[in-house]
């Protein structure tokens, strides 16, 4: 069945319930709104067929709120005063234990995997993971609880169309977004005088030794593919070969200084590299600090990723977890989060709320908030979205291995 996966729409049709729900309406709206909505992307991968609605209902039947929830998240993804969580506690009486324990998808998964495999609970009711390889493995291995969307009314009402029914998790079976961000090109305006427009700048010999690329296979593969003019979500193994060869040549020509994990932003703001693949939120924060960095999404396209909330198997308080996940979709709560996190929010209503707030502010605070509202890195326009692609998702374990080893040979040789 997965071999038919060239047509994601076909696949979705096969795995999805036929009844037209409110969510489907949103999804269709999303598809028509943008030339390239998130939901239109991606090969489905080795996921098990989505659980039957009866199974999901069976799991949730009789589950009660316990008055407690443990939320594992990335650091600095929640205001320091924990405002949203405190409000949730006051309104629901549910006590939130908030832990900043996820630093990286691979290391988090590497640690969680043996515990989940042994059928032991992680001790977390909500975890946050990016829509990459590890999230796909979590789904494929059955390590996640299918969500009961009847208990997620705020998500249904307030999530942007682009954040519903993503290809990496059809129907939001297992996850709803926490925040999104973009992979584009970050460059140092002190050294790069002409504004960068094209992805080809990363391959330009005039920046020899001053270009940073990302070490993550999915991230770098997307940029190789986009440079070749191939849409990553439709790419084939032959395309990967070409992209890897192109990236290998870029390395051999001495253009690449380094393949970065997360430390590229310091390098580009200091001028160790002049331009590099980068994430939007990082750059925005550096701009606020007055550092000479700019960020752009190449005209050939860029990557969009999403960090998602999900419930791991064995979670002790699933109902409380759903309530908290849904609570974060209240527009005023989402606005509070966005103001702090400074990445892309899945709740479009946030923009108006923040504009209203900015109107009531004065001086520097007002300027800062207005700059944020104006920033395409935090509130991308439709035109921005149209250029954004999701990650390549190989469809079998063998393909996955081939994909990884192709690009790891470039980044780790």
């Amino acid at each position: 069945m997965h071999h038919l996966s060239t047509s994601p729409a076909f696949l979705r049709g096969m795995t999805q319930s036929r009844s037209v729900s409110r969510r489907d309406v949103f999804r269709l709206a999303g598809l028509s709104a943008a030339g390239l909505a998130l939901s239109a992307c991606g090969v489905q991968g080795q996921q098990k067929a989505a659980p039957k609605p009866s199974e999901v209902a069976g799991f949730w039947a009789g589950k009660q709120k316990n008055g407690k929830v443990v939320f594992a998240n990335w650091p600095e993804y929640m205001p320091e005063d924990r405002g949203p969580l405190k409000k949730f506690e006051q309104e629901t009486g549910i006590k939130v234990e908030y832990l900043e324990v996820i630093e990286e998808n691979a290391s988090f998964f590497g640690k969680a995997e043996p515990q989940l495999r042994a059928g032991q609970p992680l001790g977390y009711d909500i975890i946050v993971m990016t829509n990459g390889t590890q999230f796909a493995k979590m789904q494929a291995l059955g390590y996640l609880v299918a969500l009961d969307h009847k208990q997620l009314p705020n998500f249904a009402a307030n999530a942007g169309a682009k954040y519903k029914n993503p290809a990496y998790d059809p129907n939001n079976t297992y996850s709803i977004p926490y925040t999104s961000g973009m992979t584009g090109i970050a460059y140092n305006t002190k050294y790069v005088k002409d504004p960068i427009k094209s992805i080809q700048a990363l391959f330009d010999p005039k920046y020899k030794g001053k270009v940073g690329m990302m070490a993550d296979s999915q991230e770098i593969a997307n940029y190789g593919l986009l440079a070749l003019g191939v849409a990553p979500e439709q790419s084939t193994k032959a395309d990967w070969d070409k992209a890897a060869a192109m990236l290998q040549k870029q390395r051999e020509d001495g253009i690449v200084r380094k393949y970065y994990d997360q430390d590229y932003i310091d390098a580009v703001s200091k001028g160790d590299v002049w331009l590099t693949m980068g994430w939007s939120g990082d750059v925005f924060q550096r701009q606020l600090a007055g550092e000479p960095v700019a960020f752009m999404v190449p005209e050939e396209g860029g990557t969009i990723w999403t960090d998602n909330m999900m419930i791991p198997k064995g979670a002790a308080n699933p109902v409380d977890a759903l309530m908290l996940m849904d609570y974060l979709y209240k527009p005023e709560i989402a606005a509070e989060l966005t103001e702090y996190i400074q990445y892309v929010t899945p709740v479009p209503a946030v923009k108006d709320l923040l504009s209203t707030k900015a109107a009531g502010l004065k001086g520097e605070d007002k300027e800062a908030l207005e700059a944020m509202i104006e920033s395409p890195l935090i509130f991308p326009t439709e035109a921005d979205y149209a250029k954004l692609h999701t990650y390549v998702t190989p469809s079998t374990p063998a393909e996955q291995e081939a994909f990884e080893s192709m690009f790891q040979a470039v980044t780790q040789g």
Partner: protein
Amino acid sequence: MRGRLGDRLLHVYTWLIIAWLTAPIAVMILFGFNDKQSKSNTSWQGFTLRWYGELFADGSLTGALVNSLQIAVISTILTTVIGTLLGLALGRYRFRGKGASNFLVFAAISTPELVMGASLLSLFVSGNTPRGLLTITIAHVLFSLSFVVVTVRARVVGLDPSLEEAARDLGAGTWTTFRLVTLPAIMPAVFAGALLAFALSIDDYVVTSFVNGSTLTFPLWIIGSVKVGIPPQVNVMGTLIFGIGVAIAVGNAIASRRRT
């Protein structure tokens, strides 16, 4: 007399090495005073004492530091005791299992951290041991043990055993001999081993990240915040650790001068 100049050069050299090792600490201390305007703390934006006032503003960071200190102290004590005993045995005696012990000590040093962490996690998972302070401490003792053993053994080897024999002949018990003769003789190695164990523990990231469950240590907390910018409180805490260390060193030096 011949050695005077050489000694002086070596004195200067020793301080140069210490200065080199300490150079990044100076930068760290500086950025604890940085009046930064956004989340990133990598470019100098003016002087402030704000972060000292708000040192404990983030409870999770304070908690992580407290965890790290607890783990470091307990694991250092355990490691130093257990490691010193094995180091003594290996340096002093011939016995069955000596070769195997030497091999284990070597193997533990050469095990890549990630493999040690992952294999310990598997062990704790299959033993259904809840991950937390206890498992982190166990792991830290394991990876620092060999360093203490090797250091102590290097001291014990070639120590003159006749002193101990003399003590025993004079009627001293095993414990008395150990306390009054053996221990003072190997004390520099025990002290050095303890320093190494403490440094290894308080700085460990890879192994800890596997066996910590939901407990955070200082390095884990910092790594987690690298992506979005390390708050200056981290620099301040590092500065305080360093400052307390220097105070201890200076106090020790003054005390030793008084004794002379």
